[in-house]
């Protein structure tokens, strides 16, 4: 199937995520510093560095789902904090949604994003507008689904998701946090983007870019 995403893509996605997270480590730390505890970038960098090490050292996973499951387990056991279990759950649910398919078609891509998003909501109980990563995942899910329904390719679905996630992350700036660490600041949390929403946008952007590159 043309433009379908395979195991190789999943591996590239994760390596690219690791690169982008490392590159933006300080940015994410600083976002978290002003309304949180200054560790989000460090946590994700530690986690995705471990993911890459795991990918380098283990046998190549056989399906996209196997890749995402490996990522889920690695993040769960190396990230800690709020982001560890949330992203861990997200990747685990995403893996489950893919089953043992060898390739990911546009609808599967959208379903994967929804599964990730629903996993985060199930674990974290945040609603849209609470100034969390959910504010990036939710519009990403909706845009991905709209794109898939409109007949977009898988890379296009992911691109739609990434763009929406970026917009969603930007839109967290004026919000007053009601979940996570930023909620302790009350009104003082307004005026800054949520670090988890921003990292979500980076992750989905890595998905879109690696997908586009693979079919360029």
């Amino acid at each position: 199937m043309a433009d379908a995403l395979d195991t190789e893509w999943a591996v590239r996605w994760m390596r690219e995520t690791a690169r982008v997270v490392a590159e933006n480590r300080v940015l994410l730390i600083n976002l978290d510093r002003v309304i949180g505890d200054a560790d989000h970038g460090e946590n994700l960098d530690r986690g995705f560095t471990a993911v890459v090490a795991k990918l380098d050292s283990s046998e190549a996973p056989e399906t996209p789902a196997a890749v995402l499951k490996l990522v889920a387990m690695t993040l769960m056991s190396t990230v800690g904090g709020a982001a560890g279990p949330l992203y861990g759950t997200a990747f685990l649910r995403a893996a489950t949604s893919l089953g043992d398919a060898a390739e990911i078609d546009p609808n599967a891509a959208a379903a994967m994003i929804r599964a990730a998003r629903d996993g985060i909501v199930a674990r974290g109980k945040a609603e849209i507008g609470d100034k969390t990563m959910v504010d990036a995942w939710t519009p990403a899910t909706e845009s991905a689904e709209t794109a898939a329904q409109a007949g977009a390719t898988a890379p296009e679905v992911l691109t739609a998701a990434a763009n929406a996630a970026h917009a969603g992350a930007g839109a967290t700036e004026p919000l007053i946090a009601r979940k996570g660490r930023a909620s302790y600041l009350g009104e003082r949390s307004a005026g800054h983007q949520d670090p988890g929403a921003v990292s979500t946008a980076f992750i989905l952007q890595a998905a879109a870019e690696t997908a586009r590159e693979l079919f360029a």
Partner: protein
């Protein structure tokens, strides 16, 4: 940033290693995944107590591992809750057949990671209960928020639940005592200067020479509001008032009081605050039965302090007084 550290990423491992050497008579350090257990764990027939959280709050939690307090402490990265793959083996390692209580400070990360660990430890056949410490009156509590943070009250929960476990209470009993402490303890903090997270390298927030942050937590986060610098008596009153209100402390109540340093505050200043707390509570005819003044739950080298008050009944007081032998708290043993 100047710190007595080597690689910022090795801070937790190296410091726990040093802790293990210094207190080899009390604890065993399990390096990978990292957790600390009391030397004689698992104590057969005793409920095991496990707590943990981000590092940077020393002596919490490792300093409270030992007889009459915690069976295991699980340190995460600095200000980052630990992962289930640390919490699970810590939990099974201290299960003496009577089950394990998780003492969890109310932060999303701690809650989620302990939740996962509890589930998986249960799946391995360990009976696990949890209590959530959420004593910080600086934080608004509502159904729609993450709720109050767990701060200084944690020390009281660990001590008193630890005593109940040592006494031989069963898992439900220890859990009930722990919950009773949670329900009766409140805290409030102030910062004069921020701390610097090693991997971040810059202070968590900036305060002018004449400003202080009221309602800070223990993670270098800014507080609820910023006010002009005041004298110690004025600041102490600001910390005490919301606690008294929230606990509805009234004449005849008995308490244990902790004036806690955030890591960079001289002991003399803590005693100046304690003096004022004693005066104010005396004015309300509230008794201070026991007290702790010192660094018990810190935020790296933050300059500031927190006040924690537990309303006690006779049983809690007796549990408090029972022998405890840990690196940071010791009496009767």
């Amino acid at each position: 940033m100047k710190k007595l550290i080597n690689d910022p990423r090795a801070v937790v491992n190296e410091s726990v290693e040093g802790f293990g050497i210094a207190h080899a008579d009390l604890v065993t350090v399990h390096p990978d995944p990292l957790f600390i257990t009391r030397k004689d764990a698992p104590v057969q027939g005793k409920v095991g107590l496990v707590s943990g959280g981000g590092s940077g709050h020393e002596p919490l939690h490792a300093g409270f591992v030992g007889r009459g307090m915690l069976d295991a402490a699980v340190p995460g990265a600095v200000f980052t809750s630990p992962t289930p793959d640390q919490i699970i083996p810590a939990t099974t390692a201290v299960n003496g057949g009577a089950g394990v209580l998780h003492i969890v400070k109310n932060y999303t990360g701690d809650v989620l990671n302990f939740e996962t660990a509890a589930e998986m430890a249960e799946a391995e056949g360990v009976a696990v209960r949890s209590v959530l410490v959420n004593d910080d009156v600086a934080v608004e509590d509502s159904l729609y928020t993450a709720g109050r943070r767990g701060v200084g009250g944690t020390v009281f929960v660990e001590r008193i639940a630890g005593a109940a476990a040592e006494r031989g209470d069963d898992l439900d009993g220890v859990t009930a005592v722990a919950q009773r402490v949670v329900d009766s303890v409140r805290s409030m903090g102030v910062a004069l200067a921020a701390c610097t997270v090693p991997h971040a390298g810059v202070p968590s927030f900036d305060l002018a020479e004449d400003e202080i942050e009221i309602g800070i937590g223990i993670h270098g986060e800014p507080g609820r509001h910023r006010i002009a610098m005041e004298d110690a008596d004025g600041i102490t009153q600001r910390l005490l008032d919301p606690i008294v209100a929230d606990l509805s402390l009234t004449s005849g109540d008995r308490t244990i009081v902790m004036v806690n340093g955030m890591g960079g505050t001289p002991a003399s200043e803590l005693y100046i605050m304690f003096r004022k707390v004693a005066q104010l509570l005396d004015g309300l005819s509230v008794t201070i039965e026991r007290s702790l003044v010192g660094n018990y739950i810190t935020a790296l080298e933050m300059q500031g302090a927190s006040l924690t008050i537990l309303r006690v009944d006779q049983e809690m007081l007796e549990l408090w007084d029972s022998p405890v032998h840990t690196a940071a708290l010791r009496w009767g043993a």
